[in-house]
């Protein structure tokens, strides 16, 4: 069970909704993934095309919690504005704080992320900051009262996987709130590793949306996250330098 603020989820996979080839594939991928949390961005409407399709309208909103992001914000103030616009929909009170500090790497601005999180907590949001894998920053965010910490595995959409498993594991070790590994996951291996390290969940988008078969990848990610979590709970064996035989040495029949 994953508990974020007042909400409880069976699934530990949080899924982004961007960049799918079409809505039909997306809808099937979302269903197969068994996710209960979907992220969205807030953008201007094309007011001259009222009939343009919107993925949100194709969803049973009873089944999913919406986690809008503040993507596009470069400052805390911009992030707060986007968060308030999202909340004005009346559909959500969770917010993924995303304040980008560099257009090339899309790495989060740590100072603005911290400021935005503090302001949004004061406004009563359920606050999930997307942050770098900096261990001390993660601690500062949880000390503020953030409801989950979402360190990036590697740059957004890069598919490089967890480039600093030490930092991710230190963030998990000190955590008093759920840790969701967010961004940079490329393959089921990456998702399973995050869970084996003890993460409480994984948020991904491009790894599924950009796969050759998004529906199949959604299933793979679901299974990888479940397998990784089970492995973490089961407790893996320590790594040893030399072999230890699995078969007994006694009672060997020799000629």
């Amino acid at each position: 069970m994953l508990k974020i603020g007042p909400y409880e989820f069976q699934s530990r996979l949080l899924l982004g909704t961007g960049k799918y080839p079409n809505f039909d594939v997306q809808k099937e991928a979302v269903a197969v993934s068994e996710t209960e949390v979907l992220t969205f961005a807030v953008r201007r409407m094309n007011i001259f095309e009222p009939n343009q399709p919107n993925f949100l309208e194709k969803l049973d909103l009873e089944k999913y919690k919406l986690l809008p992001n503040t993507a596009g914000a470069k400052t805390a103030e911009e992030a707060v504005r986007i968060a308030k616009l999202a909340k004005a929909s009346g559909l959500c009170d969770m917010i993924k704080v995303e304040v980008i500090g560099c257009p090339k790497t899309l790495l989060p601005d740590p100072v603005e992320t911290l400021r935005a999180s503090e302001m949004l907590l004061e406004e009563g949001f359920i606050v999930l900051p997307y942050t770098s894998d900096d261990v001390i920053l993660a601690r500062r965010l949880q000390d503020l009262g953030c409801h989950a910490i979402m360190p990036g595995a590697s740059p957004i959409g890069s598919g490089q996987g967890i480039i600093n498993p030490l930092n991710i594991s230190l963030i998990i070790e000190q955590a008093t709130v759920p840790v969701i590994v967010d961004a940079g996951v490329g393959s089921p291996t990456d998702a399973a590793l995050a869970m084996e390290l003890g993460a409480d969940g994984v948020l991904l988008n491009t790894a599924v949306a950009g796969a050759e078969d998004p529906v199949k990848m959604a299933k793979a990610m679901k299974l990888a996250i479940e397998a990784g979590r089970l492995g973490y709970e089961a407790g893996r064996i320590p790594k040893k330098r030399y072999a230890t035989a699995s078969s007994p040495m006694e009672g060997m029949s020799t000629v």
Partner: protein, 67 residues
Amino acid sequence: MELTINGEVIKLPTNVLTVADLLTHFQLNEKIAMVEVNLSIIERSHFAETKLSNGDKVEIVHFVGGG
């Protein structure tokens, strides 16, 4: 009345008086739309009573796919 909607100056007929009228005019009243007027966010429950004035800056946004 002229409004700046999503950065574009648009002339509106005289029967558009409120935020709710504006959304109906563009056939967006059934959509999940969030509205800001002169940097103040308008709650859905206040759409009908929020009057618009010439020169107001209006933002109409919605949820799109994102990660």
